[in-house]
């Protein structure tokens, strides 16, 4: 299969305070095939944005290179960019201009003009169902409508690769559904390659042909969902809400040793001390093969330690579990 996006030893080092060198991306190697939806996942500060910025030509790599349709983004940036469409997370449009003016402007930035541009804008407006409101200022649109125009502006020149950065942030479920369907249509009908980033694991699961997980500037996992889940051992996660109570290290050790199938036991305290500051309760997290079978024994040990459990959740293996296992953090962190 043709490779549409490729990175070779892509790296970026920034100069920090007092001359310190911060290696944000440490030599990323990726290959994304034509017609593939590839999701790049990573917690904040993992190097995801820097990687994407280098691929799209916004930031110059310190080392290595990225290729779009075989064109180097550092040596042939204009040719590479012609093949790339960008749909940023922000509504990157001019609020004083109407939808048509915005689309025409960004179309011209891709070298479109004349009747071809007019037709493409007509088609795009029809596709996003805003033909009747095309002459109204963007500032009068709802969030969902703006986001649809935002997507159309990135697709107007019919790119071979489209990068979508959290395109469903801040919109209603109906608009979100429509956008996800659009992404699939782009792949299925137009054969576009989609590079997708999201904080919503269910979106990544629904859309992605393959997923790359980046942390500390490195790709730590790469493959389809089945591959990744297998990689972490198809284990269930049991999450116990325990309120203000903090278990001793001996309890965690006992659970791990005495309950059959348990492979890991960890505690995430409530509030500022924990990984998720928004947590109002301490979370006791147990990883186990056949988690439901291990549940009664774990419950017994916790209650024997002298606390009452507020709630219990059993998570089947999914990308979230993979992400948590590999990065030690939830995707929303």
């Amino acid at each position: 299969m043709d490779v549409m996006v490729e990175t070779r030893d892509l790296a970026k080092t920034f100069s920090g305070d007092h001359g310190a060198q911060i290696e944000a991306v440490k030599g990323v190697n990726l290959e994304i095939s034509k017609g593939e939806i590839f999701s790049l996942l990573g917690p904040n500060g993992a190097g995801k944005t820097t990687t994407i910025s280098m691929i799209s030509g916004l930031v110059e790599p310190t080392r290595g290179d990225a290729f779009i349709g075989g064109h180097s983004i550092t040596r042939e940036p204009l040719q590479a960019k012609r093949l790339l469409g960008v749909v940023p997370q922000e509504i990157a449009l001019y609020p004083n201009l109407n939808a048509r003016q915005n689309l025409e402007f960004f179309g011209r930035m891709y070298g479109l003009g004349g009747e071809d541009l007019a037709h493409r804008v007509d088609d795009a407006l029809e596709f996003i169902e805003l033909t009747d409101r095309q002459k109204e200022r963007l500032s009068t649109y709802s969030g969902g409508m703006k986001r649809r125009v935002n997507i159309a502006a990135g697709l107007l020149h019919d790119p071979q690769v489209v990068y979508m950065d959290e395109p469903t942030v801040g919109i209603d479920p109906q608009s979100r559904r429509r956008i996800l369907d659009t992404v699939k249509l782009l792949r299925d009908q137009r054969g576009m390659t989609v590079l997708y980033t999201t904080h919503l694991m269910e979106e990544a699961q629904e859309l992605s042909d393959r997923v790359g997980i980046i942390d500390h500037g490195e790709i730590i996992a790469l493959g389809n969902q089945g591959d990744l889940i297998q990689k972490v051992g198809e284990e269930d996660r049991l999450v116990f809400k325990v309120g203000d109570w903090t278990p001793g290290a001996d309890l965690l050790e006992r659970i791990q040793k005495q309950v059959e199938g348990v492979t890991d036991a960890a505690f995430d305290p409530a509030g500022a001390d924990g990984q998720d500051r928004a947590n109002t309760s301490g979370l006791l997290m147990i990883t186990a093969r056949r988690g439901r079978r291990a549940l009664p024994a774990v419950l017994h040990l916790i209650e024997a330690a002298g606390t009452s459990i507020q709630s219990v959740e059993v998570h089947e293996p999914d990308l979230e579990a993979v992400f948590l296992k590999l990065t030690g953090r939830a995707l929303r962190d």
Partner: protein
């Protein structure tokens, strides 16, 4: 290159579709200038705050042909607000104007109210020398020159706002124009203004110009009449006595008379009213003051575009960086120029409405006017680029840029008062305003102003671009 123009056009479109921005760019300076122009110059007969401008009048003139003393006419108009007795040959009877005369007025106010003229003769000069205010002149220089020097020094010291120096041979020069075969040497009335009070000095200049131009207009008309009379009826001319012509001249040259109707030309070559002077002075300073904001925030909107990700969207398109920056700059410069031109046109309309007739208040030197507008645009855009290079973002620019603009406005005379030139010359507003003032009076040399505007603009632009390029990353 096409994309550069597309971006520039987008800049103009986004700018001129923003109602708030339009309010700042056009409506505010127009409203402020018009209000000040109306309050100070147009409507306030007897109520204007500008009155009694102290002026020293030095008169070296003597009676010329036909016995008319034009120097005395001018001197008395400036000191007393009336035509002096004795300047017109005895027995003169002037025909009455067919319409109600406007009086010895300038912009709706009597000259006597507006200008407080003082005869500056040897006695007045000696008084100042004795008081130690003015140094005694070197004995080597002529007495008349010493008198002029003393008057100028008195102006520099702030005793007078302006000195009007009527040269010897003024009357001869005026009446001599009627006889083309014996043209006397050309002389001109000098108006020496205090540079620290350009507004009042400009008004004095306008008033003097108005009176003298009316005298010249009358002179030309009388000359033409006499030529025609001599050609058609030599017998009548031969029988006429000089006294009759003296009478004719005296009446024609009265600023209140309409015997010679040339003062009612539909378009004036240079503004000659207080309202016009004020509109030019305050309007140009206001236009430049508000253009500073347009220039600065236009270029600094690059940060806004980065924040909104529209810049990144452009950068991820196959558009070279130079085209993006160039388009932005061309768009900003075009916005500033459009703003300045729009204000100039609008203030011309306002000036004409105040005057009650079409009045080119900015003068008629179109090339110099165009260059001044361009220079002003380059200067304010250059300052915007410099700030974009120095400041760290739009928030900082809002504070620092606004404070700086207000400071430049105060220094440059954008708020209705003027500081000494030694201070105001630090403001680009001064160089623009001064150029517009000079062009409006019709005989100013604005080369230095243009050099300052273009020079400062290009220099600031270069430094700003260099700093901006070093610091700015998407």
């Amino acid at each position: 290159m096409t994309k550069l123009w597309v971006i520039a056009l987008k800049e103009l479109t986004t700018r001129f579709t923003d109602r708030n921005l339009l309010l700042i760019m056009l409506a505010a300076p127009l409203a402020i200038s018009t209000l000040i122009g109306l309050a100070f110059g147009g409507l306030g007969r007897g109520g204007s705050p500008i009155r009694g401008i102290p002026v020293a009048v030095v008169n070296h003139d003597r009676r010329g042909q036909y016995g008319v003393a034009f120097g005395d006419v001018l001197l008395n108009l400036l000191t007393e607000g009336t035509i002096p007795s004795g300047s017109v040959p005895s027995g003169s009877t002037c025909p009455q104007p067919t319409e109600t005369p406007s009086g010895n007025s300038a912009g709706g106010m009597a000259v006597g109210e507006l200008i407080h003229g003082t005869v500056f003769d040897d006695a007045a000069a000696q008084k100042l020398i004795k008081a130690g205010t003015v140094p005694a002149a070197s004995p080597a220089i002529a007495a008349s020159e010493a008198l002029d020097q003393a008057a100028r020094t008195a102006v520099d010291k702030g005793i007078y706002t302006a000195a009007v120096i009527i040269p010897a041979g003024f009357s001869s020069s005026m009446t001599g124009m009627t006889n083309p075969t014996r043209m006397p040497p050309s002389v001109s009335v000098a108006v020496y203004g205090n540079q620290g009070d350009g507004l009042s000095a400009g008004i004095v200049r306008s008033v003097v110009e108005g009176i003298v131009s009316q005298m010249v207009s009358g002179d030309i008309a009388i000359g033409a009449t006499m030529s025609q009379l001599a050609a058609r009826h030599p017998d009548v001319l031969a029988s006429a006595v000089n006294q009759d012509f003296g009478n004719l001249f005296a009446c024609a040259f009265m600023p209140s008379g309409d015997l010679v109707g040339l003062v009612e030309e539909p378009v004036q070559a240079a503004q000659s009213s207080i309202a016009g002077t004020l509109l030019v002075t305050i309007g140009s300073a206001q236009a430049m003051f508000f253009a500073l904001f347009t220039g600065q925030f236009g270029i600094l909107s690059m940060y806004e575009e980065r924040k909104n990700w529209t810049l990144q969207r452009m950068l991820t398109s196959p558009t070279p960086r130079w085209a993006i920056l160039g388009g932005k700059l061309v768009g900003v410069l075009a916005s500033v120029l459009f703003q300045l031109v729009a204000l100039i046109v609008a203030l011309t309309v306002v000036g004409s409405l105040i005057e009650g007739r079409p009045t080119l208040i900015w003068g008629t030197n179109w090339v110099a006017l165009g260059l001044t507008v361009l220079g002003a645009g380059v200067a304010v855009s250059g300052l915007g680029m410099l700030l974009a290079g120095v400041l760290k973002g739009i928030e900082q620019a809002n504070v620092v840029g606004s404070v700086l603009n207000i400071a430049l406005g105060v220094l440059g005379g954008g708020f209705g008062f003027q500081l000494p030139r030694s201070v105001s010359a630090f403001s680009i507003i001064y160089w623009g305003r001064d150029a517009f003032d000079q062009l409006a009076t019709g005989h100013g040399n604005v080369t230095l102003n243009l050099l300052m505007l273009f020079g400062q603009g290009v220099l600031m632009f270069g430094i700003g671009l260099w700093l901006f390029g070093r610091r700015f990353e998407a």
